[in-house]
Amino acid sequence: MSKNATEAIKEKSMVIQKDMLANLFHELSKTKETGKKVVYTFVPGNLTELILSFDMLPVYPEINALQSGMRKKSGAYIRDAEKLGFSEDVCTYVKCDIGMMLNGNIGPTGEKLPAPDLLLLSYTGCFTFMKWFENLERLYPGVPVAMLHTPYQEDGNITPEQVEYMVKQLKEEVIPKMEKVSGKKFDMERLSKMMTNSAKAEDLLVKILETAKNKPSPIDAYFAGVYYIGPIFTAFRGTDEAVEYYKELYAEVTERLRLGLGPVTPEGELKEEKFRLVVEYPPNWTNFREFWKIFYDAGAVIVASSYTKVGGVYDLGFRHNPDEPLESLSKYCMGCYTNMNLPQRVNLLADYVKEYKADGFLINSIKSCNSFSAGQLMIMREIEQRMEVPVGFIESDLVDPRYFSYANIKNRLESYFQMLEQRKIIMAQDAEKV
């Protein structure tokens, strides 16, 4: 953390989100008293509306891991998991999560998280999810596991047969287990109503993210974007609260747009937008604020990112559909970013570079995530050739502090920004000649 770090500026939407999360974790800590059942599941391809329709509470181990990273606890958790025999080579989210459990399963608010009543293995776009929950199943013996296999978009589309396969799994595997654990009958009407809310929030999220097409962008669609996606990618999609949150956020962002203001950052408002970037993959969580500040200091704004699409690529048009809830959940799962094949990913990123008028494309490659990282160097080349923009490549990790080298990353980024600066000068000179 920077020595001069000051208290981060908080807008009203941030306070709302903070309260929403605090309430959720508090509710989770009280499940013994309330009798509410708890479902552990994953963010990409999550079935939040379905879980909530049974009055159960979701827990997302990836979110716990990233929170542990931001709170500087992940390093110790990872080392504890490695003592159990987990290799240094494997996903640090898994190790952080297992380490957290070994250390009492204390959540981000300091309250203990309850053990799961159901492990919902909805694995979308990440093979490691399956291995992760096989491990959890052994840590929580006797807890039922509901498996939802999400087919990959290998041909670059979602077929009716794939939807049918998923709906059958929902009907035969997932819903019966949820009924058994919750003691409640499945209520299609309730699920359908929630999806109306989901679609409203999704509309608003897309509008918010697309404000970054303006110059200057009123938002940072990566560092701030990870907060914007919070409610909709996790426990609140389908709720009234989520709709209200996105209304408030949209109002704030449109007001900034009207005033011609740049993004809000922890260091203050960005006064001058020098570079517009598209970024592939999540930020490092252990040194999040330092990492963001490198971009802030250079006047670099992230106008679009793939990470804000891991829980749904809503800007491609998908919305949860109250008229076909189960089909809609299936399509949602299959449509998430990491479930798209590489040519689709390249097309999406290339479109972002074009539509958001980006000056460059940057990859923050993550050591422990093969789902994203394998093939990224080819993606980078494709974008460079197709879009003719400078590309940059840095490496870090999600939550393992041993793999965040501040000096190295700063050095690489500064070189990259210099390259962008030079290119701008040359392009301006060329334009003058014309």
């Binding site: 159990l84 025999g85 987990f86 290799s87 080579d89 494997v90 996903c91 898994v94 293995l121 694995y123 990440c126 093979f127 490691t128 399956m130 291995k131 992760w132 929950f133 096989e134 491990n135 199943e137 052994r138 596991v145 498996m147 296999h149 087919p151 990959y152 290998e154 047969e161 396969y165 059958k168 799994q169 035969e172 595997e173 094949n341 590489l342 040519p343 990913r345 390249v346 490659s365 050591k367 422990s368 093969n370 789902s371 990282s373 394998a374 093939g375 990224q376 160097l377 080819m378 494709e382 490496e395």
Partner: protein, 387 residues
């Protein structure tokens, strides 16, 4: 003996011919033939065989090729297998392949399918998505659809229709292939000195690059050769190797384990060739369903298959007991998430059952075996002296 040694030499040549010359020559003999490359672990080769195709296993470049371009496509923290394969694709070693199948075993192999699409290698690049639901009416239907996609892909190339008769014939040939391989393993489990693990590996790996009919002859000759006494029994311990099912270890590593005093009585090195346990029905009116059911109900234990309800830890311990092994060597490729994420659980199961074990990691082109040999040697000595 001389003939058998020649057979072994020829298997070695075929197993590590990274230009797949035998397969290329096979294709030249008939215009309607097609070659389909597949990656680890398992692919039902019967469906390609039945439509006049040859499914060829691409198990990586190992330590037989210097990787130059491949390293420019992968970060240091990605396993070695795909960089060798992309190197082969980019240096035109795979040009005679008509299509490629990438079985769903991990995110690296999955994304490699996309890289082949972007590089436009082959006429089709198919990610073969295995169901993780084992209900015949759910996962079974899905698996059959996946099979049908490949059949359609090959048909688009050679216009050969799939017939019940041909598929049953192919199933019969591969049943025989698996039976012979199991026979070799059975003999080795009783008389491990008769055929080294390295030679066993070469004989089986060669079968991934030639027609099954030819491979069956090689296997028959092997069974015949090792049915008679050969070699000398040694004071070795008996071990099971676990975790080497995808990226293959270099031959030197397998040899080092043997030289360190270990008979490898079971392993998962060429797991795809032994994936289906027992025969698949070969006289059905619906052989695609027979193949599907075999996948759902006769698949072996694998890190790539969802195992809740049938935990792998227990299955590894059962293998140890079944083969009267003294211990387990967990030998996984570096950065192999499926193998390495299973390892703590497998080790725990071994600890609880009192089965000694060691572990190490490798790359397919690891060149230093001294440490591994010392580790395996100490493991062997400790069991011999104190177990």
């Amino acid at each position: 003996m001389k003939q058998f040694n020649e057979l072994l030499a020829s298997c070695k040549e075929v197993a590590f011919d990274l230009r797949f010359t035998k397969a290329a020559n096979w294709k030249l003999a008939d215009k309607s033939r097609a070659i389909v490359g597949f990656l680890p672990i398992y692919f039902p080769r019967e469906i390609v065989h039945a439509v006049n195709g040859l499914a060829v296993g691409i198990m990586g470049a190992g330590d037989h090729k210097q990787i130059i371009k491949g390293d420019a496509y992968y970060q240091s923290y990605i396993c070695h297998l795909p960089r060798g394969i992309i190197e082969m694709a980019l240096d035109d070693s795979l040009n005679h392949f008509d299509g490629f199948v990438f079985p769903a075993i991990c995110d690296c192999i999955r994304n490699l399918s996309g890289m082949f699409k972007l590089a436009e290698k082959g006429k089709f690049q198919r990610y073969f998505d295995y169901p993780q639901n084992f209900d015949t009416l759910i996962g079974g239907v899905f698996y059959r659809q996946e099979l049908e996609k490949i059949i359609a892909d090959v048909y688009a190339i050679n216009k050969v229709e799939l017939t019940t008769e041909n598929l049953n014939r192919s199933i019969k040939l591969y049943n025989y292939n698996r039976k012979l391989i199991e026979e070799i393993y059975k003999i080795r489990q009783q008389y491990p000195w008769r055929l080294s693990a390295v030679d066993t590996y070469l004989i089986i790996r060669a079968g991934l690059a030639i027609p099954v009919e030819e491979h069956n002859i090689i296997l028959e000759q092997t069974v015949e050769a090792i049915s008679n006494e050969r070699g000398e029994p040694m004071d070795n311990i008996r071990v099971v190797i676990s975790g080497s099912f995808c990226e293959q270890p270099p031959l030197g590593l397998i040899k080092s384990i043997e030289m360190a005093g270990c008979y490898i009585v079971d392993d998962d090195l060429m797991l795809g060739s032994r994936w289906i346990q027992g025969d698949i029905e070969d006289n059905s009116n619906d052989p695609l369903t027979a193949l599907t059911n075999a996948y759902l109900t006769q698949s072996t234990c694998s890190s790539a298959v969802y195992d809740v309800g049938n935990p792998k830890g227990k299955r590894v311990v059962d293998r140890v007991k079944k083969h009267d092994a003294d211990g387990v060597i967990f030998s996984a490729a570096s950065f192999c998430d499926p193998a390495l994420l299973d390892r703590p659980e497998l080790q725990k199961a071994c600890d609880e059952a009192g089965v000694p074990h060691i572990n190490f990691q490798y790359h397919e082109n690891t060149g230093q075996f001294k440490v591994i040999k010392e580790q395996a040697g100490t493991f062997s000595d400790s069991i011999k002296l104190w177990a």
